[in-house]
Symmetry: C2
Subunit: 333 residues, 2 copies
């Protein structure tokens, strides 16, 4: 490890930063969380005081111009992800951007171009769930053919929230089930099947008032098998990934949530030999994500989640959300 201290700035007073990411950063020895910016100075100051952050700013611009910050964490509402991430690159700052990295693939393309223009500063989508060691373990099980050939994956992520004031229920701010939580289901299917789908079918139900997708179901055909995906913002909370193979299955009970303050995770592997429950040490996936990003930047290695990865995920989400009315859409490239 370098002797360098990584200096982070936080864009916005989003709850995910306060409860999850900032405490994770502050637990890393070579990290200093320098400053937070909000469009409202009082909010920024209160947030800084609560989170133990030294500096607070009343505009994002001041954070961009801050001379002593290496990386920005961008947990703003989805519709601001791309524009603020591009601005950060222009100001010479790396960006860890919350998922989804954009609202459409077309919009993400602007960020890809900015990344090419500013290759020394780097941007990564914050799919922190990928950094939990359970996935490396699952990957090894699959490689070792523990459950035979994978035939089908089922990924579901739901919660209930019909508050019209919530950004997640505001279509023009990048709300909706697919962008908020469905992106996890898409990403995990791509990760397990190690590629992009050959064809897609979906049923999307839009909320008649919010115009956001409140229930999206999809079939993705990959080279190796099929994924069924379900996400909903108006269904009782649930998240699960089932990986089905010819000789067994893996049940992932907390596939997506961070579990820093929860009980250690476990997965179940069911085969003819019986049920094997594998428990993992308590671990903070946000810490692992931040460290992995810092290390890739320092060593000039590829980032653990590339913009190409993110572009493939957004292209799928685009297809699922099109056409923008209740009903089915299907797509074969």
């Amino acid at each position: 490890m370098s002797k360098k201290k990584w200096r982070w700035g936080i864009l916005s007073t989003a709850n995910i930063g306060r409860t999850r990411f900032i405490p994770a950063l502050q637990s890393i020895p070579d990290v200093e969380v320098v400053a937070v910016a909000s469009r409202n100075l009082q909010k920024a100051e209160a947030f800084a005081s609560e989170c133990g952050i030294a500096e607070a700013y009343g505009s994002y611009q001041e954070l961009m111009e801050h001379p002593d910050i290496d990386i920005l964490y961008n947990p703003t509402p989805n519709y601001l992800h791309v524009s603020l991430s591009i601005k950060a690159l222009e100001y010479g700052k790396h960006v860890l951007c919350e998922k989804p990295i954009s609202v459409t693939a077309r919009e993400l393309d602007q960020l890809v171009q900015a990344q090419q223009q500013y290759p020394l500063t780097r941007v990564m989508e914050g799919f922190m769930y990928r950094f939990h060691p359970q996935w490396r373990y699952i990957h090894e099980l699959i490689q070792d053919k523990k459950i035979g050939k994978i035939t089908h994956i089922h990924a579901i992520f739901t919660y209930f929230n019909d508050d019209p004031a919530d950004v997640r229920n505001q279509d023009n701010l990048g709300g909706g089930a697919l962008l908020d939580i469905g992106c996890y289901c898409v990403d995990v299917a791509k990760m397990i099947f190690n590629g992009s789908p050959k064809s897609i079918q979906s049923y999307v139900e839009y909320d008649p008032i919010f115009s956001t997708d409140r229930l999206t179901t999809a079939l993705l055909e990959f080279k190796e098998g099929i994924a069924t995906l379900v996400c909903s913002t108006q269904t009782f909370s649930f998240q699960q990934v089932y990986i089905h193979g010819t000789k067994g299955r893996i049940e992932v009970n907390i596939p997506f949530n961070s579990a820093s303050d929860e009980e250690p995770r476990s997965i179940r592997i069911v085969t003819k030999e019986g049920v094997l429950k594998k428990t993992f040490d308590q671990i903070n996936a946000y810490v692992l994500m931040a460290q992995a990003m810092q290390q890739a930047i320092e060593k000039k290695h590829p980032l653990p989640i590339t913009l190409q990865d993110s572009m493939e995920t957004m292209a799928i989400i685009d297809r699922l959300l099109y056409p923008k009315n209740n009903g089915f859409g299907s797509y074969t490239p």
Copy 2:
């Protein structure tokens, strides 16, 4: 109850009869299993001796002509279901036909017409799972809005069997995942949403050697919500139904199998109040099905599963299997 003894005949020496249905029938006081017929007399005799059945015949025709039989149980390979059931009606015998009642909706139409021609003898598809009391309990939970409004159902049924000699892997005998086990997934979605889907999308993967569907996934859009269905004959054994609502979910762990010789069933109801596990007394759903059918015939009531029900299920299966090549099919009536 009437004093009458119900006299049953068994078509074929199928394993499901030997292990499941005949023992169930023989446990009912007002039932007598009179005879079994096979296309091979030796097989019929050995089967009769093993199962404690008095008479054995070397042709189906002899059972049709038997003067003392009220009801035939038809567990022949799928491609024989309709022709033998029609024959039984012609010979004045009621028929309980194993699922799926036919191979296509078009074929089932012949049976519907025969039923109209011979209204005094009745035919019913043997979806025995429906008679387990857990479904009545689940229906009441749904009616009472215990889990709010139902938004999504996921039904999966899989097993692994790549034996080319098995009828379930023979396309011309009515094999394949959808007809063998997917019909349960379709039926349960129709039962819970209480209707037929408005539109259907599917991905069907055919076995390159058997030409049977070995993995079928589908999205069914009902008036009230969406069902995702998965069935496979080349995936590790699993069966589960999840019923998701706005305020909770119901997990049905053994939705389809008969559990006469298994531990009592239980379902889990998960809501904000926590997890409620409901356990049911050990019960034989085959017994309840046979009794319900006998009672409907005796009282001239509608059968618990109507041919209209069966026709709707077969129409969905038709659509799922069409087109008959790997890939997607979609359908809106």
